[in-house]
């Protein structure tokens, strides 16, 4: 996925600055470049402007939540859709099913560590 030489870009979408910082450090450590958004609305504008390869997406956020963002971006006509990995405390079977039905590529249940993140990135072909 993405270009063969440049590092893959990942947009981290989470209303928690702590989680964004943690995820950014892990992703950079895994060789990706990152950008950040604090809610789905900001993330949508950033997606249109910079077309990230991947999105690490929280569920519960103000303004526009993760699931609404996911549905909106999947309904947007883009030349290349990003791989989207939910990263949330929502761990109910029904929630995961809902996310997958809306077009999520992978799903991380918080709390997570670098091994889990690397494993999930590998599953979507980013590592």
């Amino acid at each position: 996925m993405g270009s063969s030489t440049a590092a893959l870009t990942c947009l981290v979408v989470d209303d928690s600055r702590v989680i964004r910082t943690l995820a950014r450090k892990m992703l950079v450590g895994l060789g990706l470049t990152t950008s950040e958004a604090e809610n789905g609305a900001v993330a949508y504008e950033m997606c249109l402007a910079s077309r990230p390869d991947l999105i690490l997406l929280d569920w519960n956020m103000p303004v526009l939540d993760g699931l609404s963002f996911l549905k909106k971006i999947r309904a947007t006509d883009l030349d290349r859709q990003p791989k989207i990995l939910f990263c949330t405390t929502e761990s109910e079977f029904s929630k995961i099913t809902e996310a997958l039905a809306a077009g999520a590529d992978e799903y991380i249940m918080k709390p997570f560590d670098e091994e889990i993140l690397a494993s999930k990135l590998h599953m979507v072909g980013a590592l």
Binding site: S91, E92, F93, I96, T97, L100, A104, E106, Y107, I108, M109, F112, D113, E115, I116, S119, K120, H122, M123
Partner: protein, 280 residues
């Protein structure tokens, strides 16, 4: 804490005899941390007192507990990915052709630990159900450690464990939520049989297998033990069967029973099968 060299030597010698585990001096630091709970459980005031009991007359349970405490159970679903890809594509295609009359497959998972590897194999088989329609598939998962086997048999994994190596789509398909985490569904658990087995002891009673997974086991053994185990695994593998070893393991300079399968990392074939193929 500094380890008394005599205590270390006693444990190393005991583990070698009981399980083949080669305890090197750089792992001495593990001893106190792992054996302290066992010492307390058996009423010993210290690890040294526990170790002093590890002679021929020691109760079997004490010996078993020491071996289990020193055994490494690191594992994850679809660990290293590549062997499962090779199994799904190359190996399964070959076996479907070679066993088309018998229509049955037996897979041995040696050192199954907490069950992620055998359940990964079961899920792989389930994903290929259409190709295996009408076939009988048996996955036998063995390990030295009885406690870990009980855990494996229950098929319950924490949220952390199900996120290591297991794609979420497979989690949804083959697991259900339960108190404490996620439980493999009955149709997956019923595909795997668990049994205690020490690879140093005779295991010919397990029968013949078409595929053997023995990954990240040999790395804990010294060379003569590796040879001993590999040669006996060769006896249990069908002449045209397939052996998977871990990425850091090899048969080179250890045994002539197996040779690498060209182009398939971690896959080994019995040398007699290669000879027959060349002769044919």
């Amino acid at each position: 804490m500094t380890m008394d060299p005599n205590v270390f030597a006693t444990v190393a010698s005991f583990l070698k005899a009981q399980s083949g585990l080669a305890l090197t001096p750089d792992k001495a630091y593990l001893l106190n941390g792992r054996l302290q709970p066992v010492a307390e459980q058996h009423g010993c005031k210290s690890v040294a007192e526990l170790v002093a009991k590890l002679n021929g007359a020691a109760p079997a349970q004490l010996k078993q507990d020491v071996v289990e405490a020193m055994t490494t159970n690191e594992t994850s679903f679809f660990r290293d990915t590549t062997p499962f890809e090779i199994l799904k594509t190359h190996v399964l295609s070959q076996l479907l052709e070679r066993r088309k009359v018998r229509r049955s497959l037996r897979i041995l998972c040696a050192a199954a630990s907490s069950g992620q590897e055998p359940y990964s194999l079961a899920m792989l088989m389930a994903e290929n159900a259409a190709r295996l329609a009408g076939w009988k598939t048996q996955i036998l998962a063995v390990d030295l450690d009885t406690k870990i086997l009980k855990r494996a048999e229950a098929g319950i994994y924490t949220q952390f464990e199900v996120q290591r190596g297991l794609p979420v789509q497979m989690l949804m398909k083959y697991f259900e939520q339960c108190p404490g985490g996620w439980k493999a569904k009955p149709e997956i658990r019923s595909m795997v049989q668990f049994q205690r087995c020490n690879l140093l002891e005779p295991f010919s009673h397990l029968g013949e297998f078409d595929v053997i997974f023995c990954r990240n086991v040999l790395i804990y053994f010294d060379t003569p033990t590796k040879r001993h185990v590999l040669d006996r695994l060769a006896n249990q593998l069908a002449p045209d069967g397939f052996l998977f070893l871990g990425g850091a393991e090899t048969v080179l300079d250890i045994t002539t029973s197996f040779a690498p399968s060209a182009g398939h990392r971690g896959l080994y074939l019995r040398t007699e099968a290669l000879r027959d193929r060349k002769a044919g």
